[in-house]
Amino acid sequence: MPPVIEMRNITKTFPGVAANSNISITLEEGEIHALLGENGAGKTTLMGVLFGLHRPDSGSVYIRGEKRRIAGPPDAAALGIGMVHQHFKLVPAFTVTENIMLGTKRFLLNTKKAAADIAALSARHGLGVDPHAKIEAVSVGMQQRVEILKMLHRNADILIFDEPTAVLTPQETAELMKIMRSLISQGKSIIFITHKLHEIKAVADRCTVLRAGKVSGTVNVADTSAEQMAEMMVGRKVSLNVVKPPPREGQPVFAAQNITVWGARRETAVRQASFEVREGEILGLAGVDGNGQSELAEALAGLRKIHSGSLTLRGKDITRASVKKRMRQGLAHIPEDRGKRGLILDFSLADNLALALYDRPPFSRHGLRDFNQINLYAQKIISDFDVRAASGGQTSARAMSGGNRQKAVVGREMERKPAVLIAVQPTRGLDVGSIEYIHKRLLALREDGCAILLVSLDLDEILELSDRVAVISRGRIAGVLGAAEADKNTVGLMMAGAGKGAEVT
C-alpha cells in the first residue's frame, strides 16, 4: 500500500535562506510520525508546502500514491489533511458549534443539527466537548480538543499536530497522547511536530529530524535514544544535563507575602501568593500557561498593581513602588515577550540597551540626552554579551535575529548587576546555542549572588536550572519543593491543581 503522504525532494528557498532543501518524508497509514527540529529548521515551511501555503521550488507531493498539486488549504482539506495549529484558529466570541460550522458551504445555518452532530462526534472519540460552550470560556486543553474535533468533523484522516503540548500540563499531555493513539486505532495517520524528545519516545513510531533546512535522518523511535535524536537535531553532542555548582545558603533578598493580583478582566489572577528568593539561588516558578504566572511576574516588576499583600526587596517594602524605583533598588526583569515588552523594535539597539537608564546621568543631564554616553554603554554590552548586530549600536532592533534580541535584553538587565532578577521565559523560541548561552549566563549570575526567579512554561528548563521549585496553579502557589523532591510527576500533579496545597515558604 502506498504511504498516505509522500513528500519527495522538496526544496523551498526564500530570499537568502534555503528554508527546505531536498527534503523527503513519508507518512505511513496508521503511523504517528514525529517531525523534530529546532526553530528555523524548516518544519513550518515544510508543512506550509503540504498545505499549499508555499509553492516549492522543486519536488512533489504524493497523497496515497498519487501526485497532487496543492494550491491552498482548501485543496489540502479536500485531500483529508487537517492541522491542529499551535496557535488555535478559533474565534473566541463564537461557540464551539459556530467555530466548527465556520466555512460551511450551506447558505442557511442549521445550528441545532450541527450541535447534535458535534456532540455525537465528540462522544465517539471521548473528547467531552460541549458544543454550546463559548470558546473564550473554556480551558486551553478543551480548545485544543475543539481543534481536533474540527478536523474530524471535516473528515480529515491525516492529522498534523503542530507543537500541541506546549500549552498543556504533563497530565493533559498524557491525555492528548491517549487521544492520539485512539485516533490511530480509528484509522487516522498523524504527523506530530515537536521538540520535546520524551514525547516522541512516548508516542511516535518514527521520527524525521530536520536541521538547517535539511533532513538529518529518519529513525525508528524504538531503536533510538533521546540523546541520539538530540544530536541529530543540533548537529553536535548536547549534554541534556546542566552542570551547576551546589547552591549557597544565602539570605532571602526578595520576599512576597500573600500577594493578590488582578488580571486584565479584574478576575483574581494571583491569590495570596507567598515565597522568597535567596541570594545566589534560582527559584523556578512552574505552571501551565495562564495560571497567573504572567500576572505575578508583572506585579513583581511593578507593571501591575499588587492588590493586597506585600513585597520586600532586601528588607525594603516595594509593594507600591514604581517600576523606576524598583529598578533603582536593584530589581531586573527579563520580560516574557521580548518583541512586545523587552525591546522597542523601531528604536536603535543603543536606545534599547539604555532603556532602563536613559533618564539618569551620565545618559542624560538636565532633561537632555547624551548620545555619546549612550553609545559607549551600548558598545560595552554588545561586546560583553556577544550581541551580533550589523551596525553596532545604531542597528535597528527589528533587524536583529531572535537570539540576538534576547541576548540584548539579557545583557541590558545583567549589566546593571541586579540584586534580584525576574527572568520570564528567557529562552522561549531560541535555538539551542542561544539557550545554552543564556542558561550559562543565568548560572553565572547566580554564582555572583543574584537572587533569580525563573518563570518558565518549559518544565524541563525549570527542573534543570532551579535550586527550588515553586508551583503555581490557578493563581495559587501550590507548593515550593526542594530540587531533590521536585520531579516531573510531582510538579506536574501540582501544576494541575492536585498539589500539596499547604502554604510553604
Binding site: 535562506v17 528554508a19 508555499h54 517600576v323 515577550d337 518583541g339 523587552g342 532633561g367 537570539g403
Partner: protein, 370 residues
C-alpha cells in the same frame, strides 16, 4: 501590530504627492481642460508677481503656517502612536476661546499682551479639548480616533450654539461670530505693510517657532524620548518605567495646543471671526501635511509649504482657467489616500525590481514570536 518598516519613506511620500497631482491632471482632462495650463495657473496664483506685491506670497505663507501648525499637531500625536483626527475641533475651540478672552481685555491693552493672551488661551483651549481624548484613552482605553471624532462634533455644535446665542456678528447675521478689530487680533501693521496683505499675521512666527521646538523636544530631550517610546511600543515603555498613560495625555495636550495655535492663527489672524456650521478644513488637511511630512517637524514644514501653495493658488486657477477650485481639495484628498496605501508602491517597486520579491515572514529564523 502595525507594520512600519518602510524602506524608503521619503520616496513613498514623494510618490504619493506625485500620484495626487497625476490624478488631479486626469480630473482636469476629464472636464476638458489642459492640466499643464491648470497647474501653471495654480502655481502662478500662489506667488503672482512678487516684484509688484508680496500679497500672494504672504497669503501662501500664512496658509502654510496654519497648515504647518495643524500638521505638527497630527505629527506630534503620531510620533506617540496617536491619530489626532480631532485637530479641526481643537482649532475651533482654541479659536473660540481666544476670541472670547480677547474681548475681555481692556481696549488700551498693549499689543504684545494681546498676542500673548491669544496664544496662551488658544493653545490652552485646544489642549483641553484634545486632553479629554487623551484622558479617555489613558484611563478607559477608548480609541482616540473615535473620541476625537465625537469631540469634533461636540465642538462644532457647542461653538455653533454659543456664537448664535451669545456672540453673533449682529442682530441679523447669527452664523458668524462678532468681528474682531485688527488691534484685538494677531494682525500686525508692519507685517501688513511688508506683505501688502492683511491676512499675514503673527502666526507665521509661531509656526516657525513650533517647528523648532517640537523638533528639539522629540529628538534631544528625555521627555521626547519617553513620548516616542510610548508611541513605538507602549508595553516596552512601561517596562522601562515610563507611564504610558501620562505620555498619552501629555502628547494629546501638546497636540491640542498646537491645533489651538493653528486655530488662533486662522480665526484671529487670517480671518477675524468664526463662521459656524463648518469645521475648519485646515484641521483635516493637517493629516495630509503630517503624512507627507512623515511626522518629522522639518518634513511637516516642507509639506505645509506645498499644500499652502495648493490652497493659495486655487482661486486664481479658477479665475484664469475656469477649473473649479475644489480641484485642489481633490488633489489633497488623493494624496492622503495614496499616503495610506503605501503598500501600492511597495508592490510596484517589487514588480519593477522583478524577481526580488519581498521576503515572506516565514523565512525569519528563530525569530521573536508573534
Amino acid at each position: 501590530m502595525k507594520r512600519l518598516r518602510v524602506p524608503k519613506p521619503f520616496i513613498f511620500a514623494v510618490a504619493a504627492v506625485f500620484s495626487g497631482f497625476v490624478a488631479g491632471a486626469l480630473l482636469m482632462l476629464i472636464i476638458g481642460k489642459n492640466p499643464i495650463v491648470g497647474y501653471a495657473a495654480l502655481f502662478r496664483g500662489a506667488v503672482k508677481n512678487p516684484a509688484v506685491s508680496l500679497s500672494a506670497v504672504g497669503q501662501t505663507l500664512i496658509m502654510s503656517a496654519i497648515l504647518c501648525l495643524s500638521g505638527l499637531s497630527l505629527a506630534f500625536a503620531g510620533k506617540v502612536g496617536l491619530f489626532n483626527i480631532g485637530a479641526a475641533g481643537q482649532m475651533l475651540i482654541g479659536g473660540f476661546a481666544a476670541s472670547v478672552a480677547v474681548y475681555r481685555l481692556p481696549t488700551d491693552c498693549p499689543k504684545a499682551l494681546t498676542i500673548a493672551v491669544i496664544l496662551v488661551v488658544g493653545a490652552f483651549g485646544g489642549a483641553v479639548w484634545a486632553g479629554v481624548a487623551g484622558v479617555l484613552k489613558a484611563r478607559f482605553g477608548i480609541n482616540e480616533v473615535v473620541a476625537t471624532i465625537m469631540l469634533n462634533w461636540v465642538a462644532f455644535w457647542t461653538v455653533d450654539y454659543f456664537v448664535r446665542n451669545y456672540f453673533p456678528r449682529d442682530a441679523y447675521v447669527k452664523t458668524t461670530s462678532r468681528v474682531l478689530p485688527d488691534a484685538m487680533s494677531l494682525r500686525l501693521q508692519w507685517l501688513e505693510k511688508i506683505f501688502d496683505s492683511r491676512f499675514v499675521n503673527f502666526g507665521l512666527f509661531v509656526a516657525v517657532a513650533m517647528v523648532v521646538l517640537t523638533w528639539f523636544i522629540m529628538n534631544k530631550t528625555v521627555f521626547g524620548f519617553e513620548l516616542r517610546a510610548v508611541g513605538a511600543n507602549r508595553f516596552a515603555a512601561e517596562y522601562a518605567g515610563i507611564h504610558a498613560g501620562t505620555g498619552t495625555v501629555c502628547a494629546m495636550l501638546i497636540a491640542g495646543a498646537l491645533a489651538g495655535l493653528a486655530g488662533v492663527t486662522y480665526y484671529l489672524g487670517y480671518v477675524t471671526s468664526i463662521q459656524v456650521g463648518v469645521l475648519p478644513s485646515y484641521g483635516y488637511d493637517g493629516i495630509a501635511v503630517a503624512l507627507v511630512g512623515q511626522n518629522s517637524p522639518g518634513g511637516v514644514a516642507a509639506a505645509a509649504l506645498l499644500f499652502g501653495v495648493l490652497r493659495s493658488g486655487k482661486d486664481f486657477m479658477t479665475i484664469e482657467t475656469g477649473i473649479m477650485n475644489e480641484l485642489a481639495d481633490c488633489v489633497i484628498a488623493i494624496i492622503i489616500y495614496f499616503s495610506a496605501a503605501i503598500m501600492l508602491y511597495e508592490k510596484l517597486s517589487a514588480k519593477l525590481t522583478k524577481k526580488r520579491a519581498a521576503a515572506p515572514a516565514a523565512a525569519e529564523t528563530g525569530g521573536g514570536k508573534p
